[in-house]
């Protein structure tokens, strides 16, 4: 019989809709403003005692706590309002002390039976909840240069230990040139180094009476170093972001040399940037002895601004990379200090060098890699950005080695407690393998985020109402069918967004609103076909049947082409554009289902199988 769905089809539709409702449901529960407690230290854990401390401190400060609970990641303190949450942060941080990290967060209030089914609200983008977005570029040429510098000291040591005499070593434009006076020295050196440093390419040349061995990276090793630098920086940035105490941060690679960092809820961008972008590292050098020759010497000034300087050996004992733990405290005189523990390899190296150097001075050098960009006018008048990276080195302390140093020791000579605690943080989180710089930054205040939600949701509601009214007036009973489908379409769309944990952004909301306008299109196509058929004198059952059938190819072609565009939008777009593309493409898919299948089911249910009933269309 025409226009009858078998029972299983109705049941299937009901099942899909029930699942849609279930998974869209958590979006109705608003998030709680909360503080997330965690700890990076092995000595401290977030337990009942820590929560109790926080509770007492909050009640003393007259701040209402909604709920405190222990979670797998630490502890969560829920509050009734955003103001309470903001006021509570410093109170809790002071009560728990330095060992704990407190972070602002929004936690879902999804009931347990829903979250046990994997349901949860859709994630909100930064433009809806506030926060910071950074795009960082890794300076890979600088990483290559650093590696070449390390290699040059290794090669010098190798040549020295084999007693091969060289005149000088220079690094220029990615090539390390070793100069020899004798052809025989060059040959010996080439044999020795090619064996030991297989990741490099070697070439020889002769200029006047001098012989040169040019060392450069092979393409493979260059790519490997670059990707290592990026990977290392990602790890370091993740550690640093964790130290900052941000709930649900995003640290992600983008393209070949960029890293995206998104910190929801963070408002103090200056502090965040200082920690994320810091390229500070430490190096330990011995002070130059009388026998140290010119090219192995380096003269550095002290960082305290006294203008003093000291001559240091160029060779590095260890760098901050060997630090396994660091914490800041104060010495007997109340000056800031950093306590350092070294890993096994670094400790061994440190004790080996210091054992032979008791009585000599050791310097702690603070290095910061910075970059400066200038705009240079090109021949055609356009401006070209030229970025030059450089490093600033300064001695923080120079002290006599009293005894062999082992795995742990302390350094003093820092300017302020802030500097010592930031240095400790950076040493803990690790140094960046290559300098990075900010190429993009967006900060959205929390009030703007809340306003964006309000406006977006508000216009979506009005839009929905207008479309529904129009459909009702124009298509009467069939308008009701279309409106039910439209409402279900939005529920399904929200369910998909939640299930895929896609991020909802402001353009994303606009995408949903636009989808509402377009989603009725399929029904409009079907209904106008039915009207046409009726106008041609076709009986009503036949008209419904062929209306749906003949509109199908049109709907299919029209939607697939739009879907293609949405997918391209997703592929090439970033940030807000991606958010729009996600809702648009999901909306096309769900609207095809609701407009064709769900509308048909309703029509069948009401009109199916009855003879030539008059259609209110």
């Amino acid at each position: 019989m025409l226009n009858k769905y078998p029972l299983w089809k109705y049941l299937l539709i009901l099942l899909v809709l029930a699942l849609g409702l279930l998974y869209a449901f958590p979006n109705l529960y608003p998030d709680d403003p909360a503080l997330q407690l965690s700890t990076q230290k092995s000595t401290a854990t977030v337990d009942e005692r820590a929560l109790e401390k926080a509770r007492t401190a909050l009640s003393q400060a007259n701040i209402d706590l909604k709920e405190a609970e222990l979670t797998s990641a630490g502890g969560t303190l829920r509050f009734n309002s955003g103001e309470d949450q903001l006021a509570a942060k410093p109170v809790v941080a002071a009560a728990l002390g330095e060992d704990y990290v407190t972070a602002l967060n929004l936690v879902p209030t999804t009931p347990e039976w829903l979250s046990s089914l994997g349901a949860g609200p859709a994630k909100l983008g930064l433009d809806l909840r506030g926060g910071v977005h950074f795009l960082l570029e890794v300076d890979t040429p600088a990483a290559l240069k650093q590696r070449l510098e390390v290699t040059s000291s290794e090669m010098k040591a190798a040549l020295r230990s084999d007693r091969i005499r060289y005149r000088s070593v220079d690094i220029a434009e990615g090539i390390l040139s070793i100069r020899f006076l004798q052809q025989s020295d060059l040959d010996l050196a080439e044999n020795l180094l090619t064996d030991e440093f297989s990741e490099y390419r070697f070439a020889t040349r002769q200029v006047d009476t001098d012989y040169f061995l040019d060392v450069s990276f092979t393409e493979a090793s260059k790519a490997e170093i670059e990707s290592y630098a990026l990977q290392q920086n990602l790890t370091t940035l993740r550690n640093r972001v964790n130290e900052l105490g941000v709930a649900e941060p995003l640290v992600q690679r983008q393209g070949s040399n960029r890293i995206v960092v998104e910190l929801p809820g963070v408002q103090d961008t200056a502090a965040a940037k200082r920690i994320i972008g810091a390229t500070a590292n430490l190096e330990f050098h011995l002070e130059a002895g009388l026998d140290t020759t010119g090219s192995d010497l380096e003269t550095l000034t002290f960082r305290d601004g006294s203008g003093r300087s000291a001559q240091l050996e160029r060779d590095i004992i260890i760098t901050g990379d060997s630090v396994s733990d660091a914490s800041s405290s104060f010495d007997e005189n109340g000056r800031p200090q950093v306590n350092i523990s070294l890993d096994a390899k670094g400790g061994k190296q440190m004790s080996k060098v210091t054992r032979a150097a008791v009585g000599r001075n050791m310097a702690v050098v603070f290095i910061e890699h910075k970059s400066r960009s200038r705009f240079v006018e090109q021949e055609d008048g356009s401006l070209e950005e030229v970025r030059r990276s450089y490093s600033e080195k300064g001695i923080i302390s120079l002290a006599t080695i009293q005894t062999t140093l082992g795995n742990s020791f302390r350094i003093t000579g820092l300017d302020s407690p802030r500097e010592s605690s930031e240095l400790a943080l950076l040493l803990r989180a690790g140094a960046l393998a290559a300098p990075i710089y900010f190429v993009e930054e967006r900060t959205i205040g929390p009030s703007l985020g809340a306003e964006n939600i309000k406006l977006g949701v508000g216009s979506a509601q009005i839009g929905l109402l207008v479309v529904m009214l129009f459909m009702l007036v124009y298509y009467k009973v069939f308008g009701i069918f279309a409106n039910v489908s439209l409402a279900l379409n939005i529920i399904l769309l929200m369910a998909f967004m939640s299930l895929l944990s896609a991020t909802l952004t402001l353009p994303g909301i606009a995408g949903i609103v636009l989808t509402m306008g377009m989603a009725v299109d399929a029904n409009v196509l079907i209904f106008s076909r039915i009207k046409e058929e009726l106008a041609n004198g076709t009986p009503s059952q036949q008209a419904i049947h062929s209306g749906f059938n003949r509109a199908f190819t049109t709907i299919f072609d029209a939607n697939i082409t739009t879907l293609l565009v949405a997918v391209i939008l997703f592929a090439v777009g970033t940030g807000p554009v991606k958010g729009f593309a996600v809702t648009l493409s999901l909306g096309i898919l769900t609207s095809m289902f609701t407009a064709i299948v769900v509308t048909r089911a309703q029509v069948n249910l009401v009109y199916g199988g009855r003879k030539n009933k008059k259609l209110y269309i």
Binding site: E385, E441, G456, V467, L514, D521, A535, L564, V577
Partner: protein
């Protein structure tokens, strides 16, 4: 709705002249005035702040100039208490924070940060290239899809209609100095999708009619097809426009330009799917044989 009998194709020449004029004006404006690219594409710094009470913009300009920020644009954003400060030639990422603290140093009225954005010049350039590339890619893929599903002439006509819509919408943004940022680009791509949707519906009807009406000339057939789909085209455009007008009026400053781009684009898109695509199909001399391959001549079966 009764199927109308409007002689759309009788207006072909006038419509062609009208479209060409719009395109020429658009290209002219794009060539001479160009687009007013937003921060996303030019790079620079933008700080949006909210004042407790409406400030005088000149005071803010003065304050910024005193502190050595010369090349700045200060504007209200949406409401008199919201102020946006833009700096095109800003090269340091810390500038946004500095400007904020300068504004806050004013002291009398409390100032809070709504958002701050910094985009490096190189990133801006890349976004611009990516955007253009995305647009071309979208057109190319659509062209291939239509050529496969329909026929080459349909593919040329619908892509030309799309280019028509995009150029005129861009021309509108250029002519009226509306800022062109990432969200507008997204809107433009949505217009491509939407207008394509419309055009495909018309083309689909033309294809169907070529199969049914065997004795009609292409000219009458195209006209009939447009009339048959006219009701649907107008209703869908109307519902979408309703929603867009709501977004434009009530959606807030952040998606103001986005909804404007969609409004303009969809009006143009509706016009082009009625007039332009079909017009081009006729100009390309579309025939029944293009869609229905002529019956193959019987091969003489020589085998015994």
């Amino acid at each position: 709705m009764k199927v109308t009998q409007i002689p759309f194709m009788a207006m072909r020449k006038i419509v062609a002249v009208f479209s060409l004029t719009l395109i020429l004006i658009s290209i002219g404006s794009l060539a001479t005035k160009g687009l007013q690219f937003g921060l996303d594409f030019t790079g620079g710094t933008l700080v949006e702040v909210n004042y407790q009470e409406a400030p005088k913009l000149d005071d803010i300009r003065g304050l910024l100039a005193e502190n050595g920020y010369d090349d700045v644009v200060v504007q209200n954003f949406g409401s008199p208490t919201d102020v946006v400060v833009r700096m095109a030639n800003a090269f340091t990422p810390t500038l946004g924070d500095e400007v904020l603290s300068t504004l806050q140093s004013n002291g009398e009225i409390s100032v809070s940060l709504q958002r701050s954005e910094f985009v490096g010049a190189q990133v801006g350039e890349e976004l611009r290239e990516q955007g253009g590339l995305g647009m071309l890619l979208a057109l190319a893929i659509v062209m291939i899809y239509v050529a496969v599903r329909f026929q080459f002439k349909f593919s040329v006509a619908s892509v030309a209609a799309l280019a028509h819509d995009v150029i005129i919408t861009l021309g509108f943004f250029s002519l009226f100095d509306v800022e062109f940022d990432l969200t507008v680009l997204a809107a433009l791509l949505a217009v491509v999708g939407y207008s394509l949707n419309d055009t495909i519906v018309v083309c689909d009807r033309i294809r169907e009619n070529f199969r049914i009406m065997r004795d009609t000339t292409p000219y009458d057939l195209v006209n009939e097809s447009i009339n048959q789909t006219l009701g649907r085209t107008l209703i869908t455009s109307l519902t979408t426009l309703f929603v867009l007008i709501v977004l434009f009026v009530a959606g807030g400053e952040a998606i103001h330009n986005f909804s404007m781009a969609l409004l303009v684009g969809i009006v143009i898109g509706t016009y082009s799917s009625i007039f332009v695509a079909a017009n081009l199909l006729l100009a390309l001399d579309v025939k029944r044989e293009d869609l229905i391959p002529p019956p193959k001549e019987e091969l003489e079966d020589d085998l015994p």
